[in-house]
Amino acid sequence: MRRLTLSLPSLQRWLGIVVKEFIQLKRDRLTFGMIIGIPIIQLLLFGFAINSDPKHLPTAVVMAEASPFARAYLAAMRNSDYFDLVGSVESEAEAARLLDRGDVQFVVTFPPGFQRALVRGEQPSLLVEADATDPVAAGSAISVLNHLGNEVFTPDLPGFHPPGKQLIELRLHKRYNPEGITAYNIVPGLMGVILTMTMVLMTGLAMTRERERGTFENLLATPATPLEVMTGKIVPYILIGLIQVSLVLLAARWVFDVPMLGSLVLLYAVVLLFICANLTLGITFSSIARNQLQAMQMTFFFFLPSILLSGFMFPFRGMPEWAQAIGNCLPLTHFLVLVRGILLKGNDVSLLWPQVWPILAFMAVVLGVGLKTFRRTLD
């Protein structure tokens, strides 16, 4: 009877570990700063690239004719503040080279006979080539161009054209990244990136720190079981992960106006699953790593493909197949689909399973490895 009660998990012990972790976290200013700092810095870096409305984008002009109407249009572009006309070039080829080098964001080409066609109401076309590697940067400038034609020429050509008709046809040619990542993709994706980074790293460090300082031995000499130690140590990080997510969500809602169509409860459930997957990995890293430095290195080995191959940086369907295969093994890939689905498309629970099971499978494999190595380090 006595043995039975002894081997049961003890709430007091478990609570003791949780409290200890919180105290240590509070004392470790650098780590604490990192936990709060990483989401804020990443939000600032990635987030403001979205909402900021970049102006004064360098623009080159190819003028087949230097008519007054073409000049008027250019003046209007300049006045919109979105475009800085860096010069006029002779040929399409030269313009293309400027785009290639990244010297200009836009090349605007006025065709021959632009003015005559305009006066006759023939809707001349204006070719705009945009460097869309950063679709966010090009987006609002392009929408300005759309309105500009009618704004500039309607006063000069009164009653000439039926209202509502576009006076010029804008032929937009997006280069380099025709698919274009929508702005809303990034903030939800950021949630996954931040969680991957902090959850894996923090738990990885938490365990190896004990081993490196020799305190692990003391912990093991107490009646605390490995399960109590492991779970007790990760609880604070689950809480931190949820705080980070809430921080990002608040920013998404109030700063970046990201739509939230799906259920928040469902979202948090998915987040919890993802946090657990990352914590499992962190714990496993920490039982393999000999010291904190190694745990850190392992984290970055995992973090880099997660960022590059998950669909956060590049459109997932645009990657070569081998890269997609690697990406499909990473929990972040599936988490991004889940979060974007819930937030932007309003997906409900019935649509989640195809993305949930790969995360569960990842967890099972990693946990298996972790428990195996954990036992070995005890003996």
Binding site: V19, K20, R27, G214, N218, A221, P223, L378, D379
Partner: protein, 309 residues
């Protein structure tokens, strides 16, 4: 008398290294048992097996009446283990460390126990100081207080006085004897001969083998080592010459005197008498000390790693 520790034939391997070989140990309740041996001789591994931190590969035995192979959880509850290196949390305060340990042992009346321990330590005024900022001696006292908190029946101390000044060492041993008098069994590993002599009984471990066990005088007697003291003018320069003589196994300098030891007294005595006549030295047989005996034991059991290379 009841045995607090009674283990037979414990073995432990790390990879292909046989760290502890057929260890058998009997420690009586309430005694102070010294655990001696050179660095890397398996002392720490043996202690970890006794308190349930490591599972022996083979062997059997009981610690405080619990099976060392299957009941490590029960053993941990009643054993206080003080690690060789300070292993409390540097970034927790003194009080937080004690509180955490009390929680780990699921103590009732935790706060009272912590306050009492702080008062006993004389650290009540510094309870909010970070443990990492304490000096070596204070860290050691805190570590002892932490492993006494849950009132264990057995204390396992792994080189507790390494790096501690003589005054603190003496105080520490006074405390150990007080605890022993109150009925707690203590197993303590050490390198210091004066500490070994303060133990009720001791064991000598060398590279996984238990070579000698008993009281200090029993261990000395068992080795049948004869020792002579040589004194006289310029005696210190003669050490090398003495080592060449047959029957001489150890020569050690003590100021202006030399101690010469050997296992074969009948061979050694006439040799030394002749040597002293030639060099005009005084010769007297003295008792072999623990140190002489341990050096002798180490000589006959060289480090297997060194022997191989």
């Amino acid at each position: 008398m009841e045995l607090a520790i009674d283990v037979h034939g414990l073995n432990k391997h790390f990879g292909d290294k046989h760290v502890v070989r057929d260890l058998s140990l009997q420690v009586r309740e309430g005694e102070i048992y010294g655990f001696l041996g050179p660095n890397g001789s398996g002392k720490t591994t043996s202690i970890r097996m006794l308190c349930g931190l490591l599972t022996p590969d083979s062997g059997s035995g009981r610690c405080l009446g619990y099976d060392v192979l299957t009941q490590s959880a029960e053993i941990k509850r009643q054993v206080g283990y003080m690690t060789q290196k300070f292993s409390l949390w540097d970034d927790l305060t003194i009080a937080e460390n004690l509180d955490f340990v009390a929680r780990m042992f699921g103590m009732r009346g935790r706060r009272e126990a912590v306050d009492r321990a702080l008062d006993d330590l004389g650290l009540a005024g510094r309870r909010n100081q970070l443990a990492g900022t304490l000096s070596g001696g204070w860290k050691q006292r805190l570590a002892l207080a932490a492993c006494l908190l849950h009132q264990p029946r057995l204390l396992l101390l792994d080189e507790p006085t390494a790096g501690v000044d003589p005054k603190a060492r003496r105080d520490f041993w006074e405390e150990i004897h007080r605890l022993s008098a109150s009925g707690i069994t203590i197993l303590v590993s050490t390198h210091y001969m004066d500490e070994a002599e303060r133990c009720h009984r001791l064991a000598y471990l060398s590279y996984g083998n238990l070579l000698a066990a008993g009281t200090a005088s029993e261990v000395i007697a068992a080795q049948q080592l004869a020792t002579w003291e040589l004194s006289g003018p310029d005696v210190t320069g003669l050490g090398e010459a003495l080592r060449q003589l047959s029957g001489v196994e150890q020569v050690a300098s003590f100021g202006a005197r030399l101690h010469v030891s050997g296992a074969d007294a009948a061979l050694l005595e006439p040799t030394l008498e002749r040597f002293c006549r030639e060099h005009g030295l005084r010769l007297a047989q003295v008792d072999s000390t623990l140190e002489d005996v341990f050096i002798q034991l180490m000589r006959h059991r060289p480090d297997p790693l060194e022997a191989a290379s």
